[in-house]
């Protein structure tokens, strides 16, 4: 393949280079250290979840043992079953689902159009509006919950899922708007304009071209909203009395429930989170990266 042997600048005449392998070995050693560090951090992140799982699946007597075994020695579904069957838990889980789905729907309906407006239009007051969104993100939940409880008491929304839905929607609306706006930004405007040129109305172009392209991102934002609502405990506790959501129920009975009950409750709340992260893995970076600015 090679052309004429290049005698003038020839490579063949030079003596073989003695290769120093030490930097390579140091490089490989560093790679091994990186791998080790990653494993250690993973253990820190995963082992606690493993531990609460075996706690939640231990017999009641097993939890009183000391030292506690680090493997599922006293495996039993008894604790978990007791938790799920105890009064209020099933209702609270249903409430949590109702509130989560209600929040998801309401936040998407109110938030997505605003996100679209931010992504596509230049309008007066856009910057103050975005600042306002950022400001509301920073408001502590307690600041809102307590006055809202007073208002809801007066209007009959207190202790109703709809009251919690309103609060959770307000809390997740800024995030929903910012995430959906970045989702719409990532839909090329050319596609929309092409649809318009081929005769679509603005609404038609949105429904037929933009929405299908943006749907995965909007779904990501919706699931995120659901998890925010599923996890929120303080506001839900303040706004309800008997119609608790799951975290509110666990929190309000925390003081007088046995440890087994608490571990079962903890695990019940964590499982959706693990599934959520598994589904959302590839969206996580986009969601936080582009939207927060």
């Amino acid at each position: 393949m090679t052309s004429r042997p290049d005698t003038e600048h020839g490579t063949a005449t030079t003596a073989p280079i003695e290769v120093d392998k030490r930097p390579l070995r140091r490089h490989q050693f560093n790679r091994a250290l990186i791998q080790l560090a990653c494993i250690l951090i993973s253990l820190f992140m995963v082992v606690p979840i493993y531990l609460i799982t075996i706690s939640a699946f231990s017999t009641r007597q097993g939890l009183n043992e000391f030292p506690q075994p680090l493997w599922p020695k006293n495996f039993s579904t008894e604790t978990m079953a007791t938790f799920l069957n105890s009064t209020g838990i099933l209702a609270a889980t249903l409430n949590s689902l109702t509130v989560g789905i209600g929040t998801l729907v309401l936040a998407s309906l109110v938030g997505a159009p605003a996100g679209y407006a931010i992504a596509r239009f230049a309008f007066r007051g856009k910057d103050p509006y975005q600042l306002f969104l950022l400001f509301t993100r920073a408001l502590p939940i307690v600041v809102l919950s307590i006055p809202l409880a007073q208002v809801f008491l007066a209007t009959g929304l207190y202790d109703q899922p709809i009251g919690v839905i309103l609060l959770h929607t307000a809390l997740s609306l800024p995030t929903t708007i910012l995430i959906t706006s970045s989702v719409f930004l990532s839909v090329p405007i050319d596609a929309e304009e092409a649809a318009r040129i081929f005769g679509c109305t603005p609404v038609g172009a949105f429904l037929r071209v933009v929405l299908p392209l943006a749907l995965p991102g909007i779904a990501a934002s919706a699931i995120f909203t659901f998890v925010t609502s599923w996890n929120e405990v303080l506001g839900a506790t303040i706004l309800t009395f008997s119609n608790r959501t799951l975290p509110a129920q666990v929190l309000s009975t925390l003081g007088d429930s046995p440890v087994a009950f608490r571990f079962a409750g903890g695990l019940a709340m964590i499982i959706p989170s693990i599934i959520f992260i598994a589904i959302m893995r590839k969206y996580l970076l986009n969601m936080w990266g582009t939207t927060i600015r």
């Binding site: 393949m1 090679t2 004429r4 600048h9 490579t11 030079t14 073989p16 290769v19 392998k21 930097p23």
Partner: protein, 354 residues
């Protein structure tokens, strides 16, 4: 400054089977301007990145100035580089960008300022020293990147397609400037490009790469006039070299539809025959060694006129003087000087010219 020796370098990316570099050996002399030229995916950038230390070779060795650097960490190699994306630090002012390499080498503030001022002067950046890169045009950012590279007293200057992000006009003017600057400082330079005109205009020598190997290493004029194989002939030159299948017999080449004189000493046999468009002229119809052709397309280029003509079943590009009177559909006679004819092996495509 120093020479670069590369011996039997092989690079296989982790998880891949193909050799990005396949047994590459190359010597770049002290002060030489070496261009690595090839289409994308030919391994030229991989080779450059291994010289820089940004990738580690699978096997083989690299030495700079006689010192083995094969696996040496990048920051210990005493290099300088211009990146395709410029990689001008957006958070540092132009002055701090140019002086970055000097500061990392622990040079004193006063000395850094002196050298930065010199480089800024050379690249006409003096008015912009206190700006941030975001406030500069693309061409100015490119100048910052070059200034940063030449200001350090490095052994080797590496350039990875430095002009490819500039628009055509700017690229042409900056090319000449770049050549002048590099000549002036006399640094050993390795320059990667896929643009053949850049390669020919800048390089002391050009290494044409294909499939991870160096397929021809020569000075620019020879790479152009004596391509080592049909790949090089087809890659270099605009338009690329004409290739037709032909039979050499009794000092004549018959390409089917016409024949012309073969170069001195050509052995009889079947070949791929290569001729550059500008070597072909419109000949005297009376000359028996001309080839009859029919003009299909006439493209005036300003400095010359490009004809697409058919000879038998072959399509051939011919470059004639701009004032030639010729129109599409004309019958012409093509004259092919034997000294411009290159013969290549029919199967391997390797040059067979005696």
């Amino acid at each position: 400054m120093a020479d670069i020796t590369i011996q039997n370098l092989v690079k296989v990316y982790p998880g891949g089977n193909e050799r990005a570099n396949d047994d590459v050996s190359l010597h770049v002399a002290d002060g030489e301007f070496m261009v690595l030229l090839g289409p994308s995916g030919c391994g030229k950038t991989t080779l450059l990145r291994q010289i820089a230390g940004l990738e580690l070779p699978t096997s083989g060795a690299i030495a700079i100035g006689g010192r083995d650097v094969t696996y040496m960490p990048v920051h210990q190699r005493n290099l300088s580089m211009v990146f395709q994306s410029y990689a001008v630090f957006p958070h540092r002012r132009v002055r701090a960008n140019i002086g970055f390499g000097l500061a990392m080498r622990g040079m004193s503030k006063a000395e850094i300022d002196k050298k930065v001022d010199w480089a800024a002067e050379l690249l006409q950046l003096t008015p912009y020293l206190d700006r941030f890169p975001a406030q500069l045009s693309g061409g100015q950012r490119q100048r910052v990147a070059v200034a940063r590279a030449i200001v350090v007293d490095a052994d080797v200057l590496l350039m990875d397609e430095p002009l490819s992000n500039l628009d055509a006009l700017l690229r042409l003017s900056f090319r000449a400037e770049l050549k002048q600057i590099v000549n002036q400082i006399g640094m050993t330079t390795v320059y990667v490009t896929h643009d053949q005109s850049e390669a020919l205009s800048l390089g002391d020598r050009v290494a044409v790469m294909k499939n991870g190997r160096i397929t021809q290493l020569d000075n620019p004029l020879r790479v152009y006039s004596h391509p080592a194989n049909t790949f090089v002939g087809g890659f270099i030159g605009s338009p690329p070299m004409n290739f037709v299948d032909g039979v050499v017999h009794d000092g004549q080449i018959d390409i089917g539809g016409g024949s012309f004189r073969a170069p001195e000493g050509a052995e009889d046999g079947r070949y791929t025959v290569g001729v550059r468009a500008e070597a072909i002229t419109l000949g005297d119809p009376a000359d028996p060694h001309t080839v009859p052709a029919k003009v299909l397309v006439v493209e005036p280029l300003g400095s010359a006129t490009l004809l697409t003509a058919t000879v038998g079943e072959h399509s051939i590009k011919v470059q004639v003087p701009a004032d030639t009177q010729v129109a599409a559909g004309d019958q012409v006679k093509l004259s092919v000087p034997p000294s411009a004819v290159r013969l290549f092996d029919l199967d391997s495509g390797e040059a067979r010219t005696p």
